[in-house]
């Protein structure tokens, strides 16, 4: 096992380098660069001026040289400066990542706390009235874009009722406290969690249905163990594992996936940062974020692979 782990970690390095090369290559092929971003289409700019901008960002050097330089700096812990505002990429990512963890972490927690029990509930009552209603509602949640739910939520809870602030992470007139942070967090995390609730509920329901029909549950029932006991001691714990796997796998994608929620609630997270990086052709920022996501995914995948072996001793790595 240890040998396996070591090998997996070693393999990660060339995979990471490959990923960064491909991404760097893609940004090269993608039309336009940061100089093109800087020209407002509503003004004129001469070719010399654009070349000056390119030179300022080192874009006058050939791509392989730029990539090697970037890689060399990253190895030394220097992620460079953001093209668009000159801030250190590391600081920007660090700040935005914190905001994202707060938002997505909360939404995931809400999703698990509400979605899993609902999944258990609907799984136990397949094709009942409740199963249909909750299925219907959850698909409504999944199929409605976050900008619609987000705006509607703001109209009701912020504009009409005045219960929650309309966006941002903190008040502008006093220092943030735990209370103000929670106050700002509730609405966006609830809106974001709608999706998670729906998907956790669905996964949990499927998983429950599988486990309920397995032999050992039937055996447990036949042994005369009470229904509730079977459900909570055997069915649910067995059913929840695969759901956690599915959830764990999707976390890296969630990091940059909350663009609409972040936009509507002015929550400065990774999703909008990433979009800005792409639309601004901000290569250092783009590479920094991608490197972080890649690391995240690779580590998550190693952990899940290890988890399989731990949970199911029949799976062996060698």
């Amino acid at each position: 096992m240890l040998k396996y782990l070591l090998r997996r970690i070693l393999v990660t390095i060339p995979v990471l380098i490959t990923i960064t090369i491909i991404i760097f290559g893609l940004t090269e092929i993608a039309p336009g660069d940061v100089a093109d971003f800087f020209i407002s289409p509503e003004m004129e700019m001469s070719a010399e001026q654009m070349d000056a901008v390119r030179a300022r960002f080192g874009l006058d050097q050939p791509a392989p040289v730029r990539y090697i330089n970037w890689l060399g700096n990253v190895v030394q812990g220097d992620f460079g400066f953001r093209f668009t505002d000159g801030r250190p990429v590391r600081d920007v990512i660090f700040r935005r990542f914190g905001a994202t963890i707060l938002l997505i972490g909360t939404a995931l927690t809400i999703g698990i706390v509400i979605g899993i029990p609902l999944g258990v509930f609907t799984g136990l009552r397949q094709y009942s009235f409740w199963d249909f209603s909750l299925t219907g509602i959850s698909f409504l949640g999944i199929s409605t874009p976050a900008f619609v739910t987000g705006i509607l939520a703001l109209m009701v809870f912020s504009i009409t009722l005045g219960w929650f602030p309309s966006g941002g992470m903190r008040p502008v007139d006093r220092d943030p406290t735990l209370g103000t942070t929670i106050h700002h967090l509730i609405l966006p995390s609830l809106v974001l969690s709608l999706n998670y609730i729906a998907s956790f509920m669905r996964y949990m329901r499927f998983s429950m249905l599988e486990v309920i029909r397995s032999d050992y549950i039937t055996t447990a029932h036949s042994k005369g163990i009470s229904r509730t006991r079977v459900t909570w001691r055997h069915t649910v714990p067995n059913a929840i594992l695969p759901v956690i796997t599915v959830v764990g796998l999707s976390i890296p994608n969630l990091v940059v996936g909350a663009v609409f929620t972040e936009t509507i609630f002015s929550w400065p997270g990774m999703g909008t940062l990433y979009l800005d990086a792409v639309l601004g052709r901000d290569v250092p920022l783009l590479m920094g974020i991608n490197l972080m996501i890649a690391l995240f995914v690779l580590v998550a995948n190693i952990l899940t692979d290890v988890a399989y072996a731990v949970v199911d001793p029949r799976i062996r790595y060698d």
């Binding site: 336009g32 800087f38 020209i39 003004m43 004129e44 502008v172």
Partner: protein, 528 residues
């Protein structure tokens, strides 16, 4: 009226009578806290560093002052740190007289050295600022920038530039004493702008929270009088919708609003509406390398085919005015009798196409960087009108870098729906000249096809007399209109919406945020 009410009234009168005096003693204040979404909309951009700005100057001008700015409605220039300016006969040597007695936020005196330092920094290729692009000043053409005395600066140019003052609105003045030992190459990465920036503007830095807001406090020494506000805050929003929602929930006092939103809020009655011309003309630019568009009858047919008036009135809800040429301001148009209004006439359009032998089997892509409801609707209507005369076009939305990378090479596009900011001081001559944009590869796109236009442009560029200059612009307009050089559509009115408790607040939809004179020192927010 009961006693209590009278008491309150007396108290109110008392406070009103004394508060300005008291406020003066404290060096401003008492006017409440104004929170605005100053960097939402086309004129905004959450930009922090002067000379790296491409927009967002409404906010930057609260902290830093330029030498000169537009006046309130962008009809003329108005003094800021420069009080007077004049040129020698051929407009190669410009002298700027500076305001005396101005203090930096840290109490140091402002002098000509600060101006020289700032301009040299802004033109230093190592600092790679956006100033040369916006000021259209090629650093190589600037012979010298010298301080004649403490309050006089002389700028010597290699080429005549009669409209230099119009570009000095981009010349922010930075404190030499705080920044003189920086390495120009590090200019964009300075922490100073985020931690303790100082300027000469009406407000001083208080607190900057990245991605959230920037809070300012009044500058008691502001040369035009201490501001009334206690605090001025710019809140950052990712898009207009979230800012409008914040306005409706009462959390902010002001934001830019699109035409349809502004009209709805105006109808609700709880808001003040600010509006003005965008100064931006929306038009089709035809890629004249495509032989189909070299025949002016084809271009004219496009104009006749599209009911621009109907689109402006219905789709754009009357918030846009049809324009005859690239200039959005009537002052730059000749008499209407000299202009063709290209009134909606599909039969004539069809006839022109036939005369020109236009091949209707093709399909042209109309590339655009616009991606909002206003322009999407306009494009849908334009597309439908064109299809009625047998011209098939397909709108193609692109992000700005993609758009620019094609547009400026002149390759890979047929027609572009775009906007260009035009004003008396800043006419996009380069668009019509060989070597100018969008002809970076040196191939003339339009210039050499129209020698007559070229002559007018050459004359206008160096014309120092403003009346002659204006009449040349009108001639250019007439030429553009007659030959349908481009497919001129409309210029939109842009809006801002503020809460009712704002007093003496002023906003104008200046392109790039100006800077323009908005008398921020007078702004206040009433308590109720």
């Amino acid at each position: 009226m009961n006693k209590k009410a009278i008491g309150f009234l007396l108290l109110a009168v008392f406070l009103l009578a004394f508060s300005p005096a008291m406020a003066q003693d404290e060096g401003g204040g008492g006017g409440g806290t104004l929170i605005g979404a100053f960097d939402v909309g086309p004129g905004g951009a959450p930009q922090i560093i002067p000379f790296m700005d491409t927009a967002g100057r409404t906010w930057l001008s609260k902290i830093w002052s330029p030498l000169i700015s537009w006046n309130e409605d962008m009809s003329a220039l108005t003094p800021q740190l420069a009080t007077e300016w004049s040129a020698n006969e051929d407009s190669t040597v410009w002298t700027f007289n500076l305001r005396e007695g101005v203090l930096w936020h840290d109490g140091e005196a402002f002098t000509a050295d600060d101006v020289v330092f700032s301009l040299e920094l802004a033109l230093n290729p190592e600092a790679a600022t956006s100033f040369p692009a916006f000021s259209q000043l090629d650093p190589a053409d600037v012979v010298s920038i010298t301080a004649i005395d403490d309050f006089t600066v002389e700028v010597t140019l290699a080429e005549p530039n009669p409209r230099l003052p119009f570009f000095m609105i981009f010349a922010w003045v930075l404190p030499e004493h705080a920044l003189n030992d920086i390495n120009p190459a590090d200019y964009q990465n300075l922490d100073w702008f985020f931690t303790n920036p100082i300027g000469t503007g009406p407000f001083m830095h208080d607190e900057f929270v990245a991605d959230q807001f920037w809070a300012l406090v009044p500058n008691p020494n502001y040369w035009n009088g201490a501001p009334r506000l206690d605090r001025l805050i710019n809140r950052y929003f990712e898009d207009e919708t979230s800012a409008v929602l914040a306005l409706e929930s009462g959390e902010i006092n002001f934001t830019f609003t699109s035409g349809d939103i502004a009209l709805r809020l105006q109808d609700e009655g709880n808001y003040q509406t600010f509006s003005g011309p965008s100064g931006v003309t929306n038009y089709f630019i035809f890629n004249l390398r495509n032989s189909a568009f070299q025949d002016e009858r084809v271009r004219q047919a496009f104009l006749y085919a599209i009911d621009r008036q109907a689109i402006a009135e219905t789709v754009l809800q009357g918030t846009a005015q049809v324009v005859p040429c690239i200039s959005p301001f009537p002052a730059m148009w000749p008499d209407s009798s000299e202009l063709n209004d290209y009134a909606y006439n599909p039969e004539l359009a069809q006839q022109l196409l036939e005369e020109a032998g236009y091949d209707t089997s093709g399909n042209f892509e109309i590339s655009t960087y616009y991606n909002n409801q206003f322009h999407n609707d306009a494009l849908a209507a334009q597309q439908a009108f064109l299809s009625q005369i047998g011209v098939d076009v397909t709108p193609l939305a692109q992000d700005v870098p993609t758009y620019n990378s094609y547009f400026y090479t002149g390759e890979g596009w047929d027609i572009s729906y775009r906007g260009v900011g035009v004003n008396v001081g800043n006419f996009p001559f380069a668009f019509y000249e060989p070597g100018g944009q969008p002809t970076v590869d040196g191939e003339p796109l339009q210039g050499e096809l129209f020698p007559e236009l070229q002559e007018m442009i050459d004359a206008a560029r160096v014309e120092a007399d403003s009346d002659v200059y204006l009449s040349l612009l009108q001639d250019i307009c007439q030429f553009q209109n007659e030959h349908a050089l481009e497919g001129y559509m409309w210029t939109a009115t842009r809006f801002g919406t503020g809460s009712n408790n704002l007093t003496d607040f002023y906003w104008f939809p200046a392109a790039g945020g100006g800077p323009y004179e908005d008398h921020a020192e007078l702004w206040a927010v009433s308590e109720d």
